[in-house]
């Protein structure tokens, strides 16, 4: 479970998130929706501390992953990121071979045994539903794959590290409909084993794949509920307008 407690977040003087409190359940898909600039990515990036890389940011409140306050001084951010993986909006495979892309996280962890690495790589690529397409070209450069394949490779790269949580920031927004469908299928497939948080602009997508949906507006969490209720029975007028496409 991911617990977000009274989180405020600032980029220099800009107050990007206001008093966010929510709990994200395990082994389910939670979608973040809301108009552009409302802070979805910012909150997502707080969960694996990617915002640490940006200068001049400030956080108050707490975020707990599996009961551990991840902003506690004792926490090593590298360890946290092995547990909380991330898939980015734009597919970003390394300009290395397909194999080495997936093996990267394992090598980071200091794994040396090549047979073990091979098994883990194969396993991860299979889980990402990419194996049949790449099994014969594992040594080819990953940048030669199609956009959709690259994104599934990035998911495989993330899975190889065996994270518990996977954060996805609009993972299909740069892809064609068929590739998007494959990613969605994959997400549904993975949710039995992973806690997945996904940012999306696509209402239909949120409806199709998520169990819970959080609607953000101007840095505030307006409404958070089961996806069914957010879309069919929203409590807030703003939520209703947004999910029915009247603004955003």
């Amino acid at each position: 479970m991911i617990q977000i407690k009274n989180v405020n977040f600032y980029y220099k003087d800009f107050h990007a998130l206001t008093d966010i409190t929510m709990q994200i359940p395990d082994k389910a898909v939670t979608a973040f929706i809301g108009p552009s600039g409302c802070g979805k990515s910012t909150l997502l990036r707080l969960i694996n501390r990617m915002n640490d890389l940006i200068d001049g940011t400030r956080l108050t409140g707490n975020i707990l992953v599996e009961g551990q306050d991840i902003y506690d001084k004792k926490v090593e951010v590298e360890e946290l990121r092995k547990k909380v993986g991330m898939v980015f909006q734009k597919p970003n495979p390394f300009p290395k071979s397909i194999f080495e892309n997936v093996a990267y996280g394992l090598r980071v962890q200091g794994m040396k045994n090549e047979t073990e690495i091979k098994d883990r790589v194969e396993d991860a690529i299979k889980k990402a539903a990419l194996w049949s397409e790449v099994e014969r070209i594992l040594n080819n450069n990953a940048t030669n794959l199609s956009g959709g394949q690259q994104q599934r490779l990035c998911i495989a790269r993330c899975l190889a590290v065996e994270p518990h949580v996977i954060l996805m920031d609009e993972p299909a927004s740069a892809l064609d409909p068929i590739s998007t469908a494959k990613i969605e299928e994959l997400v549904l497939d993975l949710k039995s084993k992973y806690t997945i948080v996904i940012v999306t602009h696509n209402m239909q997508q949120a409806l199709r794949i998520s169990d819970h949906t959080a609607f953000f507006y101007l840095g505030e969490l307006v409404e958070y509920n089961t996806t069914h209720d957010i879309f069919h029975n929203p409590a807030q007028e703003k939520t209703k307008n947004y999910v029915t496409g009247q603004f955003g």
């Binding site: 694996n48 990617m50 890389l53 200068d55 590298e78 360890e79 990121r81 092995k82 993986g85 991330m86 980015f88 734009k90 970003n92 495979p93 390394f94 300009p95 290395k96 990267y104 996280g105 090598r107 980071v108 962890q109 990035c154 790269r157 993330c158 590290v161």
Partner: protein, 280 residues
């Protein structure tokens, strides 16, 4: 005038200009080649100079220049690349970074004769290396530093931040990310810096004038603490201060041809290395 005609005219002008650059390059190389090829033979590159440098070869100058290229790069390449990495990867945007950039640019703008003077004062006199390959290499190295730092910085800056983020998101540390992701991507372009630096260093006369170059020294160097002849200075000597300048002219052009050839070979090698890394 129609936009399309205008465009055509502009394109033609750009085309002519760029062809002119190539033409000038060919003109120089062709000129040196025609004037210099007459004296080139095995003896020219394998023998010591004889009879007031009017006969024999230029072997010690070739060896001297190669030593200076190697020595200066051995010193400047690691330092330059490390500074470039530090400036681009570790310094936050701010006054310190701007200051470092400004200093590098200023270093690049200093006339090379000033480096020579500085090298003489510091390496030759103060540190007591004497007129030596060591002093010359260090002086040339300093001269080459800004080029290497700048190209390294540019090469690192052109690495897409998404790659860094992907690495961090997989639990990699900053150092690991730089080593395994950023540097491999940037390496081909960093090597470009090496090529430029070699080109710069191999042709400089002023910095070696007071630090290493011998007027006439018909033997090969045995240690870093010896003086050496060098191609650019030898060329200068042949063209200006020999016993018979007219007679020395073909030798001067031959020397120039060898110098150009060495630079071109260095470029070619570095390009091959770069291409190899790019493929990987």
């Amino acid at each position: 005038m129609k936009a399309i005609t205008k465009q055509k005219i502009v394109f033609s002008i750009l085309k002519v200009m760029s062809f002119m650059v190539i033409a000038i390059l060919f003109l120089i190389i062709g000129f040196i080649f025609i004037k210099g090829i007459g004296v080139i033979n095995w003896g020219f590159i394998s023998k010591m100079p004889e009879e007031g440098m009017l006969k024999g070869g230029i072997l010690p100058a070739i060896v001297g220049t190669l030593c200076l290229i190697g020595g200066s790069m051995l010193f400047a390449f690691p330092i330059g690349v490390c500074s470039g990495i530090y400036i681009n990867e570790f310094l936050k945007d701010g006054p310190l970074k701007r200051f470092m950039r400004l200093m590098t640019d200023n270093l690049a703008g200093i006339p090379s004769i000033v480096f020579g003077l500085f090298g003489m004062a510091l390496f030759v006199n103060k540190l007591k290396f004497g007129d030596s390959i060591l002093a010359g290499s260090l002086t040339l190295g300093i001269l080459a530093l800004p080029v290497i730092i700048r190209t390294t910085e540019e090469a690192l800056r052109s690495v897409d931040d998404l790659h860094r983020q992907a690495s961090y998101a997989l639990g990699a540390s900053k150092l690991y990310t730089i080593k395994k992701v950023v540097l491999p991507i940037a390496l081909p372009n960093i090597i470009t810096g090496l090529i430029l630096a070699i080109g710069r260093v191999s042709g400089e006369t002023a910095p070696i004038l007071f630090t290493v170059a011998a007027y006439f020294l018909p033997k090969l160097p045995h240690s870093l603490f010896e003086q050496a002849m060098a191609l650019p200075y030898h060329l200068y000597v042949l063209a200006t201060s020999g016993t018979d300048i007219e007679k020395a002219k073909p030798m001067a052009f031959g020397t120039a041809l060898i110098l150009i050839t060495i630079v071109l070979i260095c470029n070619l090698l570095a390009n091959l290395i770069r291409a190899k890394f790019k493929k990987k």
